[in-house]
Symmetry: C2
Subunit: 253 residues, 2 copies
Protein backbone atom coordinates (compact mmCIF):
# COMPACT_ATOMS: atom_id res chain seq x y z
CA UNK A 1 0.00 0.00 0.00
CA UNK A 2 2.67 2.52 0.92
CA UNK A 3 5.87 2.72 -1.07
CA UNK A 4 8.63 3.34 1.40
CA UNK A 5 11.23 3.58 -1.29
CA UNK A 6 10.28 7.02 -2.45
CA UNK A 7 12.27 9.48 -0.41
CA UNK A 8 10.11 12.45 -1.17
CA UNK A 9 6.64 11.14 -0.59
CA UNK A 10 5.11 14.35 -1.72
CA UNK A 11 4.03 13.42 -5.18
CA UNK A 12 3.16 9.76 -4.91
CA UNK A 13 -0.49 10.72 -4.81
CA UNK A 14 -1.64 8.85 -1.74
CA UNK A 15 -3.92 10.80 0.52
CA UNK A 16 -1.56 10.91 3.46
CA UNK A 17 1.40 12.22 1.55
CA UNK A 18 -0.72 14.79 -0.25
CA UNK A 19 -2.09 15.94 3.08
CA UNK A 20 1.36 15.84 4.65
CA UNK A 21 2.59 18.20 1.95
CA UNK A 22 -0.14 20.62 2.94
CA UNK A 23 0.43 20.60 6.70
CA UNK A 24 3.56 22.47 7.64
CA UNK A 25 6.17 21.84 10.27
CA UNK A 26 5.49 18.13 10.58
CA UNK A 27 8.29 16.16 12.19
CA UNK A 28 9.30 12.79 10.82
CA UNK A 29 7.52 11.09 13.71
CA UNK A 30 4.37 13.06 12.93
CA UNK A 31 4.53 11.81 9.36
CA UNK A 32 5.22 8.30 10.52
CA UNK A 33 2.18 8.36 12.80
CA UNK A 34 0.01 9.59 9.94
CA UNK A 35 1.24 6.86 7.65
CA UNK A 36 -0.35 4.33 9.97
CA UNK A 37 -3.79 5.77 9.31
CA UNK A 38 -6.12 3.51 7.45
CA UNK A 39 -7.00 5.13 4.12
CA UNK A 40 -9.55 4.04 1.55
CA UNK A 41 -9.09 5.61 -1.85
CA UNK A 42 -12.07 6.33 -3.99
CA UNK A 43 -12.73 7.87 -7.39
CA UNK A 44 -15.56 10.22 -8.25
CA UNK A 45 -16.56 11.46 -11.68
CA UNK A 46 -16.97 15.05 -12.80
CA UNK A 47 -20.15 16.71 -11.51
CA UNK A 48 -20.79 13.96 -8.97
CA UNK A 49 -21.39 14.79 -5.34
CA UNK A 50 -18.59 14.05 -2.91
CA UNK A 51 -20.69 15.09 0.04
CA UNK A 52 -24.27 16.34 0.22
CA UNK A 53 -25.49 18.94 2.70
CA UNK A 54 -26.84 17.22 5.79
CA UNK A 55 -24.81 14.07 5.32
CA UNK A 56 -23.28 12.86 8.56
CA UNK A 57 -19.55 12.69 8.18
CA UNK A 58 -17.70 9.91 9.94
CA UNK A 59 -14.73 9.86 7.63
CA UNK A 60 -13.06 12.94 6.27
CA UNK A 61 -11.87 12.90 2.67
CA UNK A 62 -8.51 14.14 1.56
CA UNK A 63 -8.58 15.32 -2.02
CA UNK A 64 -5.67 13.71 -3.89
CA UNK A 65 -6.46 14.58 -7.47
CA UNK A 66 -8.87 16.93 -9.19
CA UNK A 67 -10.83 19.95 -8.07
CA UNK A 68 -14.10 20.28 -6.20
CA UNK A 69 -16.38 23.04 -4.93
CA UNK A 70 -18.00 23.57 -1.58
CA UNK A 71 -21.34 25.29 -2.05
CA UNK A 72 -24.70 26.00 -0.52
CA UNK A 73 -28.06 26.59 -2.11
CA UNK A 74 -30.52 29.29 -1.13
CA UNK A 75 -33.20 27.87 -3.39
CA UNK A 76 -33.29 26.17 -6.75
CA UNK A 77 -32.29 29.32 -8.57
CA UNK A 78 -29.53 30.58 -6.37
CA UNK A 79 -26.42 28.83 -5.21
CA UNK A 80 -23.21 30.20 -3.78
CA UNK A 81 -19.85 28.54 -4.03
CA UNK A 82 -18.01 28.96 -0.75
CA UNK A 83 -14.59 27.93 -1.96
CA UNK A 84 -12.63 25.70 -4.27
CA UNK A 85 -11.18 22.46 -2.98
CA UNK A 86 -7.74 21.64 -4.36
CA UNK A 87 -5.52 18.59 -3.94
CA UNK A 88 -4.35 18.34 -0.35
CA UNK A 89 -7.50 19.96 1.02
CA UNK A 90 -9.57 18.17 3.59
CA UNK A 91 -13.25 17.63 2.88
CA UNK A 92 -15.63 17.15 5.77
CA UNK A 93 -14.47 19.66 8.34
CA UNK A 94 -17.39 21.99 7.72
CA UNK A 95 -19.89 20.26 9.96
CA UNK A 96 -22.45 21.29 12.53
CA UNK A 97 -22.62 20.17 16.13
CA UNK A 98 -24.21 16.89 15.09
CA UNK A 99 -21.45 16.13 12.62
CA UNK A 100 -23.64 16.77 9.57
CA UNK A 101 -22.15 18.58 6.61
CA UNK A 102 -23.33 22.15 6.25
CA UNK A 103 -22.57 22.31 2.54
CA UNK A 104 -22.44 20.36 -0.68
CA UNK A 105 -19.11 19.26 -2.06
CA UNK A 106 -19.15 18.52 -5.78
CA UNK A 107 -16.45 17.28 -8.11
CA UNK A 108 -15.48 19.95 -10.63
CA UNK A 109 -13.28 17.43 -12.44
CA UNK A 110 -12.78 13.71 -11.98
CA UNK A 111 -11.48 13.35 -8.44
CA UNK A 112 -9.59 10.91 -6.30
CA UNK A 113 -10.11 11.12 -2.56
CA UNK A 114 -8.69 9.22 0.38
CA UNK A 115 -11.12 8.52 3.19
CA UNK A 116 -9.84 8.58 6.75
CA UNK A 117 -11.78 7.98 9.93
CA UNK A 118 -12.26 11.32 11.67
CA UNK A 119 -11.83 9.69 15.07
CA UNK A 120 -8.56 8.08 14.02
CA UNK A 121 -7.24 11.36 12.68
CA UNK A 122 -8.17 13.13 15.91
CA UNK A 123 -6.44 10.43 17.93
CA UNK A 124 -3.26 10.88 15.91
CA UNK A 125 -3.53 14.64 16.45
CA UNK A 126 -3.90 14.20 20.21
CA UNK A 127 -0.74 12.16 20.37
CA UNK A 128 1.37 14.15 17.92
CA UNK A 129 1.49 17.83 18.66
CA UNK A 130 2.85 18.57 15.20
CA UNK A 131 -0.19 17.04 13.55
CA UNK A 132 -2.48 18.94 15.89
CA UNK A 133 -0.67 22.19 15.12
CA UNK A 134 -0.77 21.42 11.42
CA UNK A 135 -4.50 20.87 11.50
CA UNK A 136 -5.05 24.01 13.57
CA UNK A 137 -3.09 26.04 11.07
CA UNK A 138 -5.00 24.42 8.27
CA UNK A 139 -8.29 25.43 9.88
CA UNK A 140 -6.97 28.94 10.41
CA UNK A 141 -6.05 29.11 6.75
CA UNK A 142 -9.58 28.01 5.82
CA UNK A 143 -10.92 30.83 7.97
CA UNK A 144 -8.62 33.28 6.23
CA UNK A 145 -9.80 32.11 2.87
CA UNK A 146 -13.41 32.48 3.95
CA UNK A 147 -12.61 36.02 5.08
CA UNK A 148 -11.06 36.82 1.72
CA UNK A 149 -14.24 35.63 0.10
CA UNK A 150 -16.34 37.80 2.42
CA UNK A 151 -14.24 40.80 1.50
CA UNK A 152 -14.64 40.08 -2.20
CA UNK A 153 -18.41 39.69 -2.00
CA UNK A 154 -19.00 42.50 0.44
CA UNK A 155 -16.98 45.38 -0.84
CA UNK A 156 -15.40 44.70 -4.21
CA UNK A 157 -16.63 45.57 -7.69
CA UNK A 158 -17.09 42.75 -10.17
CA UNK A 159 -13.75 43.51 -11.79
CA UNK A 160 -11.92 43.53 -8.48
CA UNK A 161 -13.61 40.31 -7.39
CA UNK A 162 -12.42 38.54 -10.49
CA UNK A 163 -8.85 39.80 -10.10
CA UNK A 164 -8.84 38.73 -6.47
CA UNK A 165 -10.19 35.28 -7.24
CA UNK A 166 -7.78 34.62 -10.09
CA UNK A 167 -4.95 35.67 -7.85
CA UNK A 168 -6.08 33.30 -5.12
CA UNK A 169 -6.31 30.39 -7.52
CA UNK A 170 -2.89 31.33 -8.84
CA UNK A 171 -1.27 31.71 -5.44
CA UNK A 172 -2.75 28.51 -4.04
CA UNK A 173 -1.05 26.58 -6.80
CA UNK A 174 2.27 28.40 -6.89
CA UNK A 175 4.00 26.17 -4.31
CA UNK A 176 3.23 23.20 -6.57
CA UNK A 177 3.25 24.77 -10.01
CA UNK A 178 5.59 23.16 -12.49
CA UNK A 179 5.15 25.14 -15.68
CA UNK A 180 6.23 28.72 -15.32
CA UNK A 181 3.31 31.05 -14.87
CA UNK A 182 0.55 28.68 -15.95
CA UNK A 183 -1.67 27.03 -13.38
CA UNK A 184 -4.66 24.70 -13.64
CA UNK A 185 -8.01 26.34 -14.11
CA UNK A 186 -10.69 23.71 -14.73
CA UNK A 187 -13.38 26.27 -14.15
CA UNK A 188 -16.24 27.46 -16.30
CA UNK A 189 -17.39 31.06 -16.25
CA UNK A 190 -20.68 29.87 -14.80
CA UNK A 191 -18.73 28.45 -11.88
CA UNK A 192 -16.88 31.73 -11.45
CA UNK A 193 -20.23 33.50 -11.41
CA UNK A 194 -21.52 31.24 -8.65
CA UNK A 195 -18.32 31.87 -6.74
CA UNK A 196 -18.36 35.65 -7.08
CA UNK A 197 -22.08 36.19 -6.63
CA UNK A 198 -22.43 37.60 -10.15
CA UNK A 199 -24.30 36.68 -13.31
CA UNK A 200 -22.48 34.69 -15.99
CA UNK A 201 -22.94 37.47 -18.46
CA UNK A 202 -21.28 39.99 -16.23
CA UNK A 203 -18.42 37.64 -15.40
CA UNK A 204 -17.80 37.27 -19.09
CA UNK A 205 -17.60 41.01 -19.53
CA UNK A 206 -14.98 41.28 -16.82
CA UNK A 207 -13.01 38.37 -18.29
CA UNK A 208 -13.08 40.09 -21.67
CA UNK A 209 -11.85 43.26 -20.08
CA UNK A 210 -8.93 41.49 -18.38
CA UNK A 211 -8.01 39.93 -21.72
CA UNK A 212 -8.24 43.22 -23.57
CA UNK A 213 -5.93 44.72 -20.98
CA UNK A 214 -3.49 41.88 -21.53
CA UNK A 215 -3.38 41.00 -17.85
CA UNK A 216 -4.37 37.34 -18.09
CA UNK A 217 -4.82 34.44 -20.45
CA UNK A 218 -7.40 31.88 -19.44
CA UNK A 219 -9.65 29.19 -20.78
CA UNK A 220 -11.36 26.20 -19.25
CA UNK A 221 -8.05 24.51 -18.51
CA UNK A 222 -5.33 26.97 -17.77
CA UNK A 223 -4.77 30.35 -16.25
CA UNK A 224 -1.76 32.54 -16.90
CA UNK A 225 -1.38 35.79 -15.04
CA UNK A 226 0.94 38.09 -16.92
CA UNK A 227 1.11 40.84 -14.36
CA UNK A 228 0.43 39.52 -10.83
CA UNK A 229 1.53 42.79 -9.25
CA UNK A 230 -0.99 44.78 -11.22
CA UNK A 231 -3.73 42.31 -10.39
CA UNK A 232 -2.84 42.38 -6.71
CA UNK A 233 -2.99 46.13 -6.78
CA UNK A 234 -6.43 46.15 -8.36
CA UNK A 235 -7.68 43.61 -5.85
CA UNK A 236 -6.06 45.38 -2.91
CA UNK A 237 -4.12 42.26 -2.02
CA UNK A 238 -1.49 43.84 0.10
CA UNK A 239 -0.12 40.55 1.28
CA UNK A 240 0.10 37.61 -1.05
CA UNK A 241 1.77 35.21 1.33
CA UNK A 242 5.10 34.88 -0.44
CA UNK A 243 6.96 38.11 0.00
CA UNK A 244 5.87 38.32 3.56
CA UNK A 245 6.89 41.46 5.32
CA UNK A 246 8.87 40.98 8.53
CA UNK A 247 5.87 41.91 10.65
CA UNK A 248 8.17 42.24 13.60
CA UNK A 249 7.80 45.98 13.63
CA UNK A 250 4.27 45.62 14.79
CA UNK A 251 4.71 43.54 17.87
CA UNK A 252 1.88 42.93 20.27
CA UNK A 253 2.11 45.66 22.82
Amino acid sequence: MTEHLRRNTRFDGTAISVLGARLHHLSESDREAMRHLNVVHRFVGRRRALIAEGEVIGRVRILCKGWATRSRRLDNERRQILDFVLPGDIIGLHVDAAGASICDVDALTACEVGEVSLDALERVAMQNSGVAAGLRHYMARQLTQANDQILRLGRMSAYERLCSLLLEVYDRQRPLAMTAGAVDFPITQTTVADMLGLSVVHVNRQVMRLRREGLVTLDRRQLVIHDPEKLAQVACHRDRGFSRRPSLFMAAE
Copy 2:
Protein backbone atom coordinates in the same frame (compact mmCIF):
# COMPACT_ATOMS: atom_id res chain seq x y z
CA MET B 1 -29.93 21.47 27.24
CA THR B 2 -29.74 25.07 28.36
CA GLU B 3 -30.76 24.13 31.86
CA HIS B 4 -27.82 22.09 33.02
CA LEU B 5 -25.39 24.67 31.69
CA ARG B 6 -26.84 27.21 33.99
CA ARG B 7 -25.80 25.31 37.06
CA ASN B 8 -22.08 25.72 36.70
CA THR B 9 -19.85 28.72 36.80
CA ARG B 10 -21.24 30.30 33.71
CA PHE B 11 -22.22 33.68 35.00
CA ASP B 12 -19.40 34.73 37.25
CA GLY B 13 -17.92 36.69 34.39
CA THR B 14 -14.37 35.46 34.45
CA ALA B 15 -12.89 34.60 31.09
CA ILE B 16 -12.52 30.90 31.73
CA SER B 17 -16.07 30.35 32.88
CA VAL B 18 -17.44 32.42 30.03
CA LEU B 19 -15.36 30.40 27.59
CA GLY B 20 -16.29 27.16 29.32
CA ALA B 21 -19.94 27.97 28.80
CA ARG B 22 -19.27 28.31 25.09
CA LEU B 23 -17.36 25.05 24.61
CA HIS B 24 -19.65 22.08 24.77
CA HIS B 25 -19.19 18.62 26.21
CA LEU B 26 -16.46 19.61 28.65
CA SER B 27 -15.93 17.16 31.48
CA GLU B 28 -15.33 18.38 35.01
CA SER B 29 -11.63 17.56 34.67
CA ASP B 30 -11.51 19.59 31.44
CA ARG B 31 -12.96 22.54 33.30
CA GLU B 32 -10.60 22.01 36.18
CA ALA B 33 -7.60 22.04 33.85
CA MET B 34 -8.80 25.26 32.25
CA ARG B 35 -9.24 26.92 35.60
CA HIS B 36 -5.50 26.61 36.11
CA LEU B 37 -4.82 28.83 33.13
CA ASN B 38 -3.30 32.15 33.92
CA VAL B 39 -5.71 34.88 32.88
CA VAL B 40 -5.18 38.62 32.81
CA HIS B 41 -8.36 40.65 32.62
CA ARG B 42 -8.40 43.92 30.80
CA PHE B 43 -10.92 46.60 29.95
CA VAL B 44 -11.23 48.40 26.65
CA GLY B 45 -13.42 51.38 25.83
CA ARG B 46 -15.93 51.69 23.03
CA ARG B 47 -14.36 52.21 19.60
CA ARG B 48 -10.90 51.22 20.81
CA ALA B 49 -8.94 48.55 19.02
CA LEU B 50 -8.63 45.18 20.69
CA ILE B 51 -6.33 43.90 18.00
CA ALA B 52 -4.96 45.57 14.89
CA GLU B 53 -4.36 43.80 11.59
CA GLY B 54 -0.78 42.58 11.45
CA GLU B 55 -0.34 42.44 15.19
CA VAL B 56 1.41 39.29 16.31
CA ILE B 57 -0.77 37.42 18.74
CA GLY B 58 0.85 35.60 21.61
CA ARG B 59 -2.13 35.65 23.89
CA VAL B 60 -5.67 35.05 22.79
CA ARG B 61 -8.43 37.16 24.30
CA ILE B 62 -11.67 35.77 25.55
CA LEU B 63 -14.43 38.33 25.40
CA CYS B 64 -16.21 38.43 28.76
CA LYS B 65 -18.39 41.48 28.40
CA GLY B 66 -19.43 43.71 25.55
CA TRP B 67 -19.45 43.33 21.78
CA ALA B 68 -16.72 43.72 19.21
CA THR B 69 -16.32 43.46 15.44
CA ARG B 70 -13.75 41.68 13.34
CA SER B 71 -13.19 43.63 10.15
CA ARG B 72 -10.84 44.25 7.28
CA ARG B 73 -10.24 47.33 5.21
CA LEU B 74 -9.86 47.43 1.46
CA ASP B 75 -8.86 51.08 1.48
CA ASN B 76 -9.78 54.12 3.51
CA GLU B 77 -13.24 54.25 2.02
CA ARG B 78 -14.24 50.64 2.17
CA ARG B 79 -14.28 48.31 5.11
CA GLN B 80 -16.03 45.02 5.61
CA ILE B 81 -17.07 43.59 8.93
CA LEU B 82 -16.42 39.87 8.95
CA ASP B 83 -18.43 39.01 12.03
CA PHE B 84 -19.58 40.15 15.42
CA VAL B 85 -17.73 39.02 18.51
CA LEU B 86 -19.98 38.25 21.47
CA PRO B 87 -19.17 37.30 25.05
CA GLY B 88 -17.57 33.88 25.15
CA ASP B 89 -15.96 34.30 21.74
CA ILE B 90 -12.25 33.92 21.34
CA ILE B 91 -10.29 36.76 19.76
CA GLY B 92 -7.00 36.01 18.08
CA LEU B 93 -7.60 32.77 16.24
CA HIS B 94 -7.70 34.45 12.85
CA VAL B 95 -3.98 34.55 12.24
CA ASP B 96 -1.65 33.85 9.36
CA ALA B 97 1.22 31.38 9.33
CA ALA B 98 3.42 33.86 11.19
CA GLY B 99 0.88 34.33 13.95
CA ALA B 100 -0.07 37.83 12.85
CA SER B 101 -3.70 38.86 12.96
CA ILE B 102 -5.36 39.05 9.57
CA CYS B 103 -8.05 41.45 10.72
CA ASP B 104 -8.87 44.31 13.03
CA VAL B 105 -10.90 43.67 16.14
CA ASP B 106 -12.62 46.75 17.52
CA ALA B 107 -14.77 47.25 20.58
CA LEU B 108 -18.35 48.06 19.65
CA THR B 109 -19.16 48.73 23.29
CA ALA B 110 -17.00 48.90 26.36
CA CYS B 111 -15.43 45.46 26.62
CA GLU B 112 -13.81 43.22 29.16
CA VAL B 113 -11.44 40.57 27.89
CA GLY B 114 -9.39 37.87 29.54
CA GLU B 115 -5.97 37.27 28.02
CA VAL B 116 -4.61 33.74 27.96
CA SER B 117 -1.31 32.54 26.57
CA LEU B 118 -1.96 30.74 23.32
CA ASP B 119 0.74 28.20 24.08
CA ALA B 120 -0.75 27.45 27.47
CA LEU B 121 -4.20 27.00 26.00
CA GLU B 122 -2.82 24.64 23.39
CA ARG B 123 -1.01 22.65 26.05
CA VAL B 124 -4.23 22.23 28.01
CA ALA B 125 -5.96 21.15 24.80
CA MET B 126 -3.28 18.55 24.09
CA GLN B 127 -3.76 17.02 27.51
CA ASN B 128 -7.53 17.24 27.74
CA SER B 129 -9.31 15.78 24.77
CA GLY B 130 -12.54 17.49 25.76
CA VAL B 131 -10.92 20.90 25.53
CA ALA B 132 -9.38 20.02 22.18
CA ALA B 133 -12.75 18.81 20.88
CA GLY B 134 -14.43 21.93 22.24
CA LEU B 135 -11.98 24.18 20.46
CA ARG B 136 -12.29 22.20 17.24
CA HIS B 137 -16.06 22.54 17.37
CA TYR B 138 -15.69 26.21 18.13
CA MET B 139 -13.50 26.66 15.05
CA ALA B 140 -16.00 24.69 12.97
CA ARG B 141 -18.76 26.96 14.21
CA GLN B 142 -16.70 29.99 13.18
CA LEU B 143 -16.34 28.50 9.73
CA THR B 144 -20.09 27.94 9.56
CA GLN B 145 -20.73 31.53 10.53
CA ALA B 146 -18.30 32.71 7.87
CA ASN B 147 -20.15 30.59 5.34
CA ASP B 148 -23.46 32.12 6.37
CA GLN B 149 -21.93 35.51 5.79
CA ILE B 150 -20.68 34.46 2.36
CA LEU B 151 -24.17 33.28 1.46
CA ARG B 152 -25.66 36.56 2.60
CA LEU B 153 -23.24 38.70 0.65
CA GLY B 154 -23.12 36.52 -2.42
CA ARG B 155 -26.69 35.69 -3.20
CA MET B 156 -29.14 37.55 -1.00
CA SER B 157 -31.01 40.79 -1.64
CA ALA B 158 -30.53 43.62 0.85
CA TYR B 159 -33.80 42.76 2.57
CA GLU B 160 -32.90 39.10 2.89
CA ARG B 161 -29.42 39.95 4.18
CA LEU B 162 -30.87 42.06 6.93
CA CYS B 163 -33.37 39.39 7.96
CA SER B 164 -30.63 36.79 7.99
CA LEU B 165 -28.29 38.94 10.06
CA LEU B 166 -30.92 39.89 12.61
CA LEU B 167 -31.82 36.25 12.95
CA GLU B 168 -28.20 35.30 13.53
CA VAL B 169 -27.77 37.96 16.19
CA TYR B 170 -30.99 36.76 17.76
CA ASP B 171 -30.13 33.08 17.67
CA ARG B 172 -26.61 33.56 18.98
CA GLN B 173 -28.04 35.14 22.09
CA ARG B 174 -31.02 32.87 22.64
CA PRO B 175 -29.15 30.36 24.82
CA LEU B 176 -28.33 33.26 27.15
CA ALA B 177 -31.31 35.54 26.71
CA MET B 178 -33.11 36.45 29.88
CA THR B 179 -35.88 38.76 28.80
CA ALA B 180 -38.38 37.06 26.56
CA GLY B 181 -37.84 37.90 22.93
CA ALA B 182 -35.53 40.87 23.41
CA VAL B 183 -31.81 40.53 22.83
CA ASP B 184 -28.93 42.98 22.95
CA PHE B 185 -28.30 44.96 19.80
CA PRO B 186 -25.62 47.59 20.43
CA ILE B 187 -25.29 48.17 16.73
CA THR B 188 -25.62 51.27 14.60
CA GLN B 189 -27.06 51.12 11.10
CA THR B 190 -23.67 52.18 9.79
CA THR B 191 -22.23 49.06 11.39
CA VAL B 192 -24.94 46.92 9.83
CA ALA B 193 -24.09 48.47 6.47
CA ASP B 194 -20.43 47.56 6.86
CA MET B 195 -21.47 44.05 7.83
CA LEU B 196 -23.86 43.52 4.94
CA GLY B 197 -21.85 45.22 2.24
CA LEU B 198 -24.52 47.87 1.71
CA SER B 199 -24.79 51.63 2.04
CA VAL B 200 -26.18 53.11 5.25
CA VAL B 201 -29.03 54.69 3.36
CA HIS B 202 -30.12 51.42 1.89
CA VAL B 203 -29.86 49.62 5.20
CA ASN B 204 -32.14 52.23 6.67
CA ARG B 205 -34.71 51.60 3.96
CA GLN B 206 -34.75 47.90 4.71
CA VAL B 207 -34.99 48.53 8.46
CA MET B 208 -37.93 50.84 7.83
CA ARG B 209 -39.57 48.18 5.73
CA LEU B 210 -39.17 45.53 8.45
CA ARG B 211 -40.72 47.93 10.93
CA ARG B 212 -43.59 48.81 8.64
CA GLU B 213 -44.26 45.10 8.24
CA GLY B 214 -44.29 44.71 12.01
CA LEU B 215 -41.68 41.96 11.94
CA VAL B 216 -39.13 43.52 14.27
CA THR B 217 -38.56 46.26 16.78
CA LEU B 218 -35.03 47.55 17.03
CA ASP B 219 -32.97 50.50 18.11
CA ARG B 220 -29.35 50.97 19.10
CA ARG B 221 -29.79 48.83 22.20
CA GLN B 222 -32.31 46.10 21.71
CA LEU B 223 -33.71 43.86 19.06
CA VAL B 224 -37.06 42.11 19.27
CA ILE B 225 -38.09 39.74 16.54
CA HIS B 226 -41.84 39.35 16.53
CA ASP B 227 -42.04 36.63 13.93
CA PRO B 228 -38.83 34.58 13.77
CA GLU B 229 -40.44 31.98 11.52
CA LYS B 230 -41.35 34.56 8.92
CA LEU B 231 -37.88 36.06 9.06
CA ALA B 232 -36.27 32.65 8.72
CA GLN B 233 -38.42 31.97 5.72
CA VAL B 234 -37.43 35.21 4.05
CA ALA B 235 -33.76 34.55 4.74
CA CYS B 236 -33.99 30.90 3.64
CA HIS B 237 -32.73 29.77 7.02
CA ARG B 238 -33.87 26.22 6.85
CA ASP B 239 -31.98 25.22 9.96
CA ARG B 240 -31.76 27.55 12.89
CA GLY B 241 -29.87 25.22 15.17
CA PHE B 242 -32.54 24.68 17.78
CA SER B 243 -35.20 22.47 16.29
CA ARG B 244 -32.61 20.29 14.65
CA ARG B 245 -33.98 17.58 12.48
CA PRO B 246 -32.87 14.04 13.34
CA SER B 247 -30.54 13.96 10.35
CA LEU B 248 -30.17 10.24 10.84
CA PHE B 249 -32.17 9.51 7.73
CA MET B 250 -29.35 10.82 5.63
CA ALA B 251 -26.52 8.65 6.79
CA ALA B 252 -23.17 8.70 5.05
CA GLU B 253 -23.44 6.19 2.24
